[in-house]
Amino acid sequence: MNALDNENDPFEDVFRNRFADFESEPDFQLWNKIEPQLPVKPTRKIPYWQISAIALIMLLSGLSVYHFSQSSEENTTTLAEVLPKGMPKTEPQFVPTKGEKTSLNNNIENSKGLPINISSPEKNRETSDDNQTTPLFVAPQTDKILKNVRKNIIADNFTGEAKNEIFIEPNSEKNAIYEIESENKAKKYNKKNKEKLNLFATRTSNKGIVENYHKINENIFDVQGNKSPLFNVFNNNQGFSLTTLNSKDYSLLSKDFRKLKLKYVTLPKEDKYFKESKPIDLYFSVMPLLNYYTITPNGNDANYVHGIAVNDDGDRLGFYTQSGVIFTLSERFKLRTGLTFTNTNHSINYQIRTDSLVVQSPDNKGVDVSFAEINQTYSQSANYLGTKIELQYLFLKGEELTHYVNVGVEGAYRLNGNHQLNGFANFAYGVTRQIGDNAYLFVEPTFSYSLNQQSDSNAFLLVKPNKIGFNIGVNFKIK
């Protein structure tokens, strides 16, 4: 072993001098193989705060769409939409007379509004006594009163009685009727009580001018169910109000309150959710990912690889976006297909026990085996472009929320690194609700099970990059 002790072994010097700066020209085609694997400037890591911002913007947009769609519904409902088929639609009568104005002025001074007792004509005959109930609010003045009115309506609905107190607020931008309808919708009142209020749509401007209104003279019943009372709609500079006309004669409002009956029309509850006017939806979603790996040593390496641990310092996180179309197959089934983009990050620590340096002893009588532990890290950031197809089963259709399950497969091609093609089986449970005329928000926790394995650069580990994600997205119906 003298050579080992000689630091200036001339034999070594020959090789050292020759090869210390040895260069060899590589094949020019090698760069073409390397270049596609290199990191690219713009598509690298998107900071998570940006993803969060996108998700927040989507959420706010959804809420805005929802809000405006609700407002739009309120302002555009017309008599024609409210009335059932066959119901006569009459032109409003507008009879502003001096006497009425006097009556109105007195009324506004006294009560600033009119309560109207409304009941279903069918129930009217059976429960006429109930319909004689004195209105609870004679002189509503403020929002507080309006709230009280709403509460009474809800309470009545829960009792199953088709009885409502309607108050039209002076100087209000919105018709009180719609306020009440909106309230009913929000509170999910008793399903049995599906009457849709059939009165009229009236709107006043700030100046108190009646811009449009409808009334149904023919559908106004008295206590006995006969068509007799009429009412007029008129305005002054402060708001609008109603007066009643009995047999075309003027009468004091205070006397006619209890007699005025407006027909309550029963309509099937509108199921906006599943009005499948068009069978195709567009969808877009984004979700944060948490990688959940199945890691196994590769083949014979099982004897050498141990101590596998996934770093939990945030390297597991990634994100997933998808966009595509949804085909409605039937009332319960939909088919969803589209493109996906996935960014995942891997960071796995593991240890190798090596005994690779097995040498014969100098006397040739044995072997010199040396073991050691080497810490290794499998770390990479991968981007995938994929396509997916999923079958969606809607198993629970609520009034506002619909629940479904998704089962599908996805093929994802890795854009960087070794360009591996990965397959995933996707399972998801989703909840969706309408946020606009043609927009639906969905939240969809998803589990993606990897159908094949990746290996690290040394082929020590086989990794199944399973994913757990929390999908948030929007569907748009195609008009």
Binding site: M1, N2, A3, L4, N6, D9, P10, F11, E12, V14, F15, R16, R18, F19, A20, D21, F22, E23, S24, E25, P26, D27, L30, W31, K33, I34, E35, Q37, L38, P39, V40, K41, R44, N300, D301, Y304, I352, T354, D355, S356, L357, V358, V359, Q360, P362, N364, V367, D368, S370, F371, A372, E373, I374, Q376, Q380, G417, S457, N458, A459, F460
Partner: protein, 183 residues
């Protein structure tokens, strides 16, 4: 001309032109390292590709741009070691006949051999020998460092080197190189 540090900074920003220039700057040197550590040119190309991908993927971790030369060389060597661990761990050097040669039998005509001929001798060494020989003799690592890098004891590294040199001498013998005069 862009200096090396600016080139590194541009590569850290994943600038494709800078990556190309960086590749052209180091391709010869790194292929030279790969050729020494491998048995065949094909293996050298495999390691070469893998090493360059690693370099560009991890160059953002390089804090001292001035040390980039040593860093890329070290990356290639580690890639070669990993490759060797992954693919060749079961090879045992049982075909080596322990023909001890005298230290006085230095080959004296090594100078007449070309780099390629000497490289072929290195390539033909068993993997463990070749690793230790390259690491110690050419790349200047100590036996302690080699032991750590390869996961072997320091003594194993020493014995591997000894046997590598003996095997080289044995291979040189048929070529007529049987003695070497110290100068």
């Amino acid at each position: 001309m862009v200096n090396e540090q600016e080139l590194v900074k541009a590569c850290q920003n994943n600038d494709r032109k800078a990556q190309t220039a960086f590749y052209n700057l180091y391709k010869g040197k790194l292929m030279g390292v790969c050729r020494r550590y491998t048995r065949t040119p094909d293996e050298a190309e495999d390691i070469y590709q893998e090493a360059f991908v690693k370099i560009f993927n991890n160059i953002h971790t390089l804090e001292k741009a001035g040390a980039v030369g040593a860093w890329v060389r070290k990356t290639v060597i580690h890639t070669a070691i990993n490759y060797y661990h992954a693919n060749l761990k079961f090879q045992q050097n049982t075909d080596y006949e322990n023909t001890l040669l005298s230290n006085d039998d230095y080959p004296n005509l090594l100078a007449n051999l070309s780099n390629e001929e000497l490289l072929t001798l290195i390539n033909q060494l068993p993997d463990g020998y070749r690793m230790v020989f390259n690491l110690y003799v050419i790349d200047g690592y100590s036996h302690a460092e080699i032991g750590q890098m390869l996961g072997v004891s320091e003594n194993t590294s020493k014995s591997q080197l000894s046997r590598a040199k003996e095997l080289l001498r044995k291979q040189l013998k048929p070529m007529g190189i049987i003695s070497y005069e110290r100068t």
